[in-house]
Symmetry: C7
């Protein structure tokens, strides 16, 4: 990946929400829940605190994360879509 996030941002590839309901019925696009899981593709260097120390980001490339609804900025790069979010919008790590 040749996009390098700045500050405490990470770049995610969003994982699509499950397309089947639990009873096995396929859902049309507008009935699917907004996906909230992503794979971490790149991690920024971190953010400086008030004392001037660099605070690194607490997730790493390869992590699967759950992020806040409507967080971040969607960007399109070389035909692919990514989501760039701040660490504070990451809620949990899966696994």
């Amino acid at each position: 990946m040749n996009l390098k996030p700045l500050g405490d941002r990470v770049i995610l590839k969003v994982l699509e929400a499950e397309e089947k309901t639990q009873s096995g019925i396929f859902l049309p696009d507008n009935a699917k829940e907004k996906p909230q899981q992503g794979k971490v593709l790149a991690v920024g260097p971190g953010k400086h605190n008030d004392k001037g120390e660099l605070i690194p980001v607490n997730v790493k490339v390869g992590d699967t994360v759950i992020f806040a609804k409507y967080a971040g900025t969607e960007v399109k790069y070389q035909g692919e879509e990514y989501l760039i979010v701040k660490e504070s919008d990451l809620l949990a790590v899966v696994g």
Copy 2:
């Protein structure tokens, strides 16, 4: 549970509001009060203060907590629904 909350967040399983009124009448779904109690399933490492010290979260796995209305983010993971909330949205511990 294999979801690890980040920062000062906790993962809750929301406990359903009581479904009977005090006079013993069952309530239809839309008349039930929004539930505000949850069981703590996982606790994040805490948040750093301005001095760079990690402040741990003041609740532990297994606690039953009361949380602020409309707090947190609902997430669905492997068919189950959870609520991820920040420690600051927890109001009290039961018991």
Copy 3:
């Protein structure tokens, strides 16, 4: 009381507003003023300041307090209603 407030919160039992006007006429429910007095039932451990010191709450169990209109969160626990408010929403102590 087996609800333990977190941080600088207190749990109050709200005292009903006086139901008679000064001329002695009973008021219907919707003409009563919103009550703003409560009895303190439980007090949280306090809040940490920027230096990491725990600042205790300045009221104690048994105090009657006046609180800001619309402050806090109403919770129902074992059939009883309580109000959980932050210390900053307490305006004065009575007595």
Copy 4:
């Protein structure tokens, strides 16, 4: 007065706006300007700054003060109405 304000709050008895215009005509209630003067009845202990020092309030019982429009919370106690305002909403001392 047996109401003790908390933090940097003061309790005021609001002084009614002058009821006559300069030409001596009495004004009906809804034409009177909202009063902005009050007599200080009680003063809180003050507020802690970031260094943990208690900063006392700069007015004293008996002062007549001018306060910001719509500041504070009106409370009714034992049939009397008071206004509880933060020190930051006090604009000037009279006299």
Copy 5:
């Protein structure tokens, strides 16, 4: 003047906007621009910074100042109207 401003506030007597246009035509009241100049009548002691030091106000009694539109609170005292503004709403000193 026997009104003493609190904190970093100053009391101004607002100077009326010029009532003639440059071509010498008198303007009706609603065509006049809102005045933004005032004479400083009283100056508060200043405001404490985060280190607990008192920061005095940078204007003095007698200064003519330009203030931000819609800044401050109009007060009426003994039949006269004044404007009480914070130092941060003063934009420039004239002269």
Copy 6:
């Protein structure tokens, strides 16, 4: 110029937007873009930081600057119009 800006403010004479399009057509008033360039006429002493140090303003009298749209306060003084803006609303220096 006998207006002295306070704090980290500067006084600008706004430079009119170019009145011709690139193809040489004169534009009516309401088609002109809102001007965003100004000449610095006066510079305030600066602003104090949290440590009590005075931080001087980074532009000087005579500079041509680009400022944020809708920034600052328009003032009229002795028949002339000026714009008073904070340093933080200055985007770039020309030249």
Copy 7:
């Protein structure tokens, strides 16, 4: 380039969004996505932190960057259009 950005701002030349869809169809203007990539033309000196230290900007002239939607201020200078954005609105560096 003779525009010098102030503080932690950078001046960008916005790169137009790709004008063809992946299937090779040219898009009319209003169907194109709002461009979010720019070339860095000039970089400000940086911003001072609470301790008075200058924090330099983490991108350099010549970098291609991705910026937040609707960030910054468009300015027109000598017939050319530029975007001036704060460092905090830069999301990632390309390459």
